[in-house]
Amino acid sequence: MKKATITSLIAAIVGGIYLETFFPTILIIFYLLSNRFKSSFLYLFSAYLFIFGYFFNPMDFSTTLIIFLIIIPNLLVLFDLIIETKYEFNKIDVFVILCLIFGIFYSEIYIFGIVLLLIKRLNKFLNKKIIMVIIPLITSLLIGIRYTDILTQNLIYRILVLTGLGIILYSIYSFLNENREIK
């Protein structure tokens, strides 16, 4: 078990507790068996995502809260388990863990902690300029969606709008991949 990656696991579990689900505790098994099922980890994790979506429906919570409490922590777990290098465990991690634990009482502290963790993780591995463009873009888009009338009316509309956004992202991704193949 990699010591440094516990932060993401704690974030996922605490986030789950805040949204009244203990489903992310299953991730402990992934951590324990990460070395044994390294080759089939992606399959198992995608199965986890599908099952999570089947059993847990956070209808009563806002989209922003779901993103910060469930989506980002689970994605960080995915990062941690497929990355081939080890993260360094330092003081910031301790601070983040404290923020996450106190987040059970105040969600704002939790969100602060998870944003800090996300920045820490992505800082080392990704092109900063792109993060500076894409993350604010997606966040502003989500906030925009959050406050439109369409979304507040019906859940299915909300899903359809988000799926549309996903399809745009997929198209961009496919376009970039095709470019690579031609080269």
Partner: protein
């Protein structure tokens, strides 16, 4: 499937799940995964410098040697570097290494040669992936290495043994010299490694300028058995080529006649894929030999099966392994001949080398009985193939090379000769005169 494609498909399925279950969670998961892929894709632009470090490029075949690649990562994020093996003459052991941005790292490549010779490794390819192993690119370093691999002492000794067995096989074929050496001088021949020094004829050696050994007459202690393959596959002829079956019958007749002359009696065992077909013991005269092999070696219809007999159905189907004992015909049935051959005897088998796995087992079984095995194999390719197209030539060449390798393998165990229509022509004609 690549990791990137898998994650993209998963996100699409998550969108579908979100829509069908009226749940926002899977949809958000899908968007998060796609965003992550997109960011990673845009960030992935490897920039590096490479230097190849090698000390010496001359090695012995059993030796594992190391080539070190010194790589400087000029990108702003860590990259995983791995070498892509591109030469089949070596077994590659590549270690992947993650190099941090602006740092220099070393990647060792451990190479072990599969064969001897001088090899050129052209354009070493480097696979570069991100730290998550999701996106990767292959680059050619553009440097070539010329590596000389010398034979090891062990392989030289093995080679000498093989060479000796090949010579011995040929001698056995021409004069059937098997059995125990007597003190009666027979003739002079070239020195073979392993011959006793006291048998070197120094006078002849000085005259000829090379080592000459004395060969003594030999007496056979045990029985001599000639095992003749009469399976339909072995007795097929190529259309338009020289008739292999006729040659096999002449060869069989010739060998047995020699043995009768030198050792008085011989046992002939005819076998096919179903096991023993016929046995003729104590053949002592030319007439009885003629009677014995009459109508046994007749050409069969069809084209010879030139690749290994064991491949395909026989080897790949695990189910066949269960069925083997109940089948009438199976390649291993020829092993039943071992029970008939007495201990401390000599066996000469005339069959195709494509049975080499069974021959190895047969030799092993006979060795347990203190018996010797000599293999005579008519090479079907040397008997002519009528239709040769450009596409078939490389295939036939590869099969021929494989056959030669099998002969070498067999020669390490027992004397084996591959014969063509031209072999033994003089002896055969002389005998018929």
């Amino acid at each position: 499937m690549k990791k990137q494609d898998f994650l993209a498909y998963v996100s699409i399925l998550l969108f579908l799940e979100g829509y069908l279950l009226v749940n926002i969670l899977p949809t958000l998961f899908g968007i998060a995964i796609l965003s992550y892929l997109l960011i990673l894709k845009l960030s992935f632009d490897p920039d590096f410098e490479i230097e190849v470090e090698t000390s010496d490029l001359d090695f012995v075949e059993t030796e594992t040697f190391e080539i070190i690649l010194k790589i400087k990562n000029n990108s702003k994020y860590p990259l995983n570097f791995k070498i892509k093996p591109n030469n089949d003459n070596f077994s590659w052991e590549c270690v992947s290494n993650i190099i941090s941005p602006k740092n220099t790292g070393k990647i060792p490549i451990y190479l072990k040669s599969k064969s001897k010779g001088s090899f050129l490794i052209q354009n070493i390819s480097l696979i570069i992936s991100d730290a998550f192993g999701i996106f990767e690119k292959t680059f050619e370093i553009g440097k070539s290495l010329n590596i000389n691999v010398y034979p090891s002492n062990e392989s030289i000794i093995k080679g000498i043994q093989t060479n000796k067995n090949t010579k011995l096989g040929k001698e056995t074929l021409s004069s059937s010299k098997s059995g125990q050496r007597t003190s009666e001088f027979d003739y002079l021949r070239d020195y073979n490694l392993g011959d006793q020094f006291k048998h070197i004829d120094w006078k002849s050696s000085l005259k000829s300028g090379r080592l000459i050994s004395k060969e003594f007459l030999k007496e056979t202690e045990g029985e001599i058995n000639v095992l003749v393959d009469v399976s339909s596959n072995f007795l097929k002829d190529f259309e338009g080529g020289i008739l292999k079956t006729d040659y096999v019958s002449i060869l069989t007749f010739q060998i047995i006649l020699y043995i009768i002359k030198n050792h008085r009696s011989v046992n002939i065992l005819f076998f096919d894929d179903s096991g023993l077909v016929d046995i003729q013991t104590n053949i002592k005269s030319k007439e009885s030999l003629k009677k014995c092999i009459k109508d046994k070696l007749t050409p069969k219809k069809g084209i010879p099966y030139t690749s290994e007999l064991n491949t395909g159905f026989f080897e790949k189907t695990a189910f066949f392994e269960i069925l083997k004992p109940f089948l009438k015909k199976s390649p291993e049935k020829c092993l039943s001949l071992v029970n008939i051959i007495k201990s401390k005897s000599t066996a000469i088998i005339i069959t195709d080398i494509s049975r080499y796995k069974e021959l190895i087992r047969l030799n092993g079984e006979l060795c347990k009985k203190n018996s010797k095995l000599y293999v005579v194999s008519p090479n079907p390719y040397l008997f002519g193939i009528k239709k040769l197209t450009e596409e078939e030539i490389p295939k036939i060449y590869h099969k021929y090379v494989q056959r030669e390798k099998n002969i070498l393998k067999l020669n390490k165990l027992c004397p084996t000769v591959d014969v063509s229509p031209n072999d033994l022509a003089d002896q055969i004609i002389g005998e018929f005169k």
